[in-house]
């Protein structure tokens, strides 16, 4: 039974379905929640799903983490580019959330609103 779960195809299917479900959990939160922090959180969950999908679908079962010595055979390592990309993306996402949160705090001070549904100063 354990062998069944260890085949690359099965792991691939688990990763794809799992990250897809996580993505839709985030999308669901984005569309149904009202508190601004929960909106940001849902966006963060969606992003995590994309990262998991990327790293998960490109990892080789028998490969090792990309930390090498001079003479190493390069084919036994995991692809390092996805790791570098996701590292960049995580930091950027965090910066965006910090900024968004500071907008929200300042807006709350002026108007007392945290509900995104009621943000309609400019309705005509």
């Amino acid at each position: 039974m354990f062998e069944f779960f260890n085949s690359p195809e099965v792991i691939n299917i688990i990763v794809i379905i799992g990250s897809m479900l996580l993505f839709f959990v985030g999308l669901f939160g984005l569309l149904t929640q009202k508190h601004i922090i929960k909106i940001f959180m849902s966006i963060a969950i969606m992003e995590t799903a994309v990262y998991l999908f990327f790293i998960g679908s490109l990892f080789k079962l028998d490969a090792i983490a990309p930390i090498m010595k001079v003479a190493d055979d390069t084919s036994k390592f995991n692809d390092p580019i996805p790791h570098a990309m996701i590292l960049t993306a995580i930091v950027i996402a965090m910066a965006v959330f910090a900024l968004g949160v500071s907008f929200a705090i300042e807006y709350y001070k002026l108007s007392g609103k945290t509900n995104i549904d009621t943000m309609n100063e400019m309705r005509h």
Partner: protein, 474 residues
């Protein structure tokens, strides 16, 4: 000289502002303007000497990142740098009366916006495009919330949330591209994209369309635009409509031409653009707030550019480039003039124009609006005519009808504004405009007239540029 300087120098400026701060209050402003003038010089230098070059960064592509300078990307780079230089010059005389808070931060932000827009246009690596997408986005969010009034902050929050959602879809597309093609370099992706299975191609295209659709302000995804324009300060709006949207538009269609050179989705995009234009102009008809009204007019113009680009033939792209130039110049003139009016009247309802007493500003606004409308002898006319011509050649009668209908609706509200400006007699005191502002505004209007009366000066260059853009040099 190296094109990387377009990004490196603004970054260097941004990081070193605390040092510049020691040299007095005005140092930051002057250094920023001088740097922009230098970048303008650099752009012309590249244009005259080389015209085409590939600039490596760190290591040669396809493994590393590279900047590709072609005639068409240089056109956009020059447009952005000159817009930003004019903006800085305009602001230099504006700041003596009503400066922004924390001016040095403002200068950092506009330079980062410039660097990111140029990076978007020049970069030939899709993940690098994502990074610049984020830099441009973040600077734009802060600029729109800069005044810290509740409407500005609300605009900033809306802009930020939509931007964050857009970037998820973009990065999803990039992830799929890397998984299936195994490279981030645009040239290599372009070679292999056609061979992908149809569903994957469709999925990547849809994700890219959604990711960029938020930023190029296309119909169902443009609900945030009017709020952002209304909440942001008037001068900053000039940058939004002259630089930010244009950079995203260029990148989107650059990617489209590279990935789908045979125009698989072109009919869908043409209808989307035409419908967006109509929807925007209809929505603009019932606006009374000036900034909101011009936001809808921007949406309409951008949608027209979108339609022209989506046609995917040389003449239409040439037309689109004409509209891009004309629209940037006209919108700058309008928002610069509105900034002066707002400072004096402290209101942006369209009724304000009734009490506007400055023949100069009235003429400037009128010229810009006529150009946006596409009246002969003004810059907007050439582009609109070319778009209609190439649509007629393709035999797309419904689209032509939609565009003409949208233009008629646009005409209604522009003439309403013109009526406010020229008929009423309840005027205030004369609004004083400094000579520096007068020079810049007159220069912008003159530019509109020159492009309108002598389009042949530009048409050859734009034709070559559009051939290059369609040919997809990466």
């Amino acid at each position: 000289m190296s094109s990387v300087l377009f990004v490196a120098l603004p970054l260097l400026f941004g990081f070193s502002t605390p040092i510049l701060g020691y040299f007095g209050k005005n140092a930051v402003a002057y250094v920023s303007t001088l740097m922009q003038l230098f970048l303008l010089y650099l752009g012309f230098d590249l244009l005259l000497n080389e015209g085409f070059s590939i600039e490596l960064i760190s290591i040669a592509p396809p493994l590393g990142i590279s900047f590709v300078v072609t005639k068409v990307s240089l056109l956009f780079v020059l447009l952005f740098t000159s817009v930003m230089t004019l903006f800085s010059l305009y602001y230099l005389s504006y700041r003596s009366e009503k400066p922004y808070r924390d001016e040095s931060k403002f200068f950092i932000l506009i330079n980062m916006l410039l660097a990111a827009s140029i990076g978007l246009v020049l970069s030939s690596d899709i993940f690098n495009i994502y990074v610049f997408f984020e830099i441009a986005g973040i600077s734009a969010y802060i600029l729109s919330a800069y005044e810290k009034s509740s409407s500005a902050l609300e605009a900033g929050i809306k802009y930020l949330i939509t931007g964050a959602v857009a970037s998820i879809f973009l990065i999803f597309a990039i992830v799929l591209i890397y998984i299936y093609i195994g490279s981030l370099n645009l040239g290599i992706i372009a070679q292999h994209f056609e061979l992908l299975p149809f569903q994957i191609k469709l999925l990547i295209s849809i994700l890219l369309l959604i990711g960029f659709g938020f930023k190029v302000e296309i119909f169902p995804l443009n609900f945030w635009v009017s709020d952002v324009y209304q909440g942001s300060s008037t001068l900053v709006n000039a940058l939004f409509s002259a630089i930010v949207v244009k950079a995203y538009l260029f990148v989107f269609f650059h990617l489209l031409y590279l990935f789908l050179p045979h125009g698989e989705f072109s009919l869908f995009l043409i209808y989307l653009g035409a419908f967006s234009m109509l929807a925007a102009e209809v929505a603009g008809l019932r606006q009374s707030h000036l900034k909101r009204l011009f936001a809808y007019s921007s949406l309409g113009q951008v949608a027209l550019v979108f339609t022209a680009f989506a046609l995917q033939n040389t003449q239409a792209i040439q037309a689109a480039l004409f509209i891009v130039l004309a629209h940037s110049v006209a919108k700058m003139g309008i928002f610069f003039a509105l900034a002066l009016i707002e400072k004096e009247h402290e209101s942006m309802e369209s009724e304000t124009l009734k009490s506007l007493n400055s023949p100069f500003l009235r003429v400037i606004l009128l010229i810009s609006m006529l150009s946006l409308l596409g009246i002969p002898l003004f810059a907007g006319f050439v582009g609109k005519l070319l778009v209609l011509k190439s649509l007629a050649l393709e035999g797309m009668l419904p689209i032509i009808m939609m565009i003409i209908l949208a233009s008629l609706i646009e005409a209604v509200y522009y003439f309403k504004l013109a009526g406010y400006m020229f008929t009423s007699d309840k005027r205030r005191d004369v609004l004083k405009v400094t000579w520096a502002h007068k020079t810049i505004l007159a220069f912008l209007s003159l530019l509109l007239l020159i492009i309108g009366m002598a389009p042949f000066l530009l048409s050859e260059y734009l034709f070559e540029a559009s051939k290059l853009m369609l040919g997809g040099v990466s």
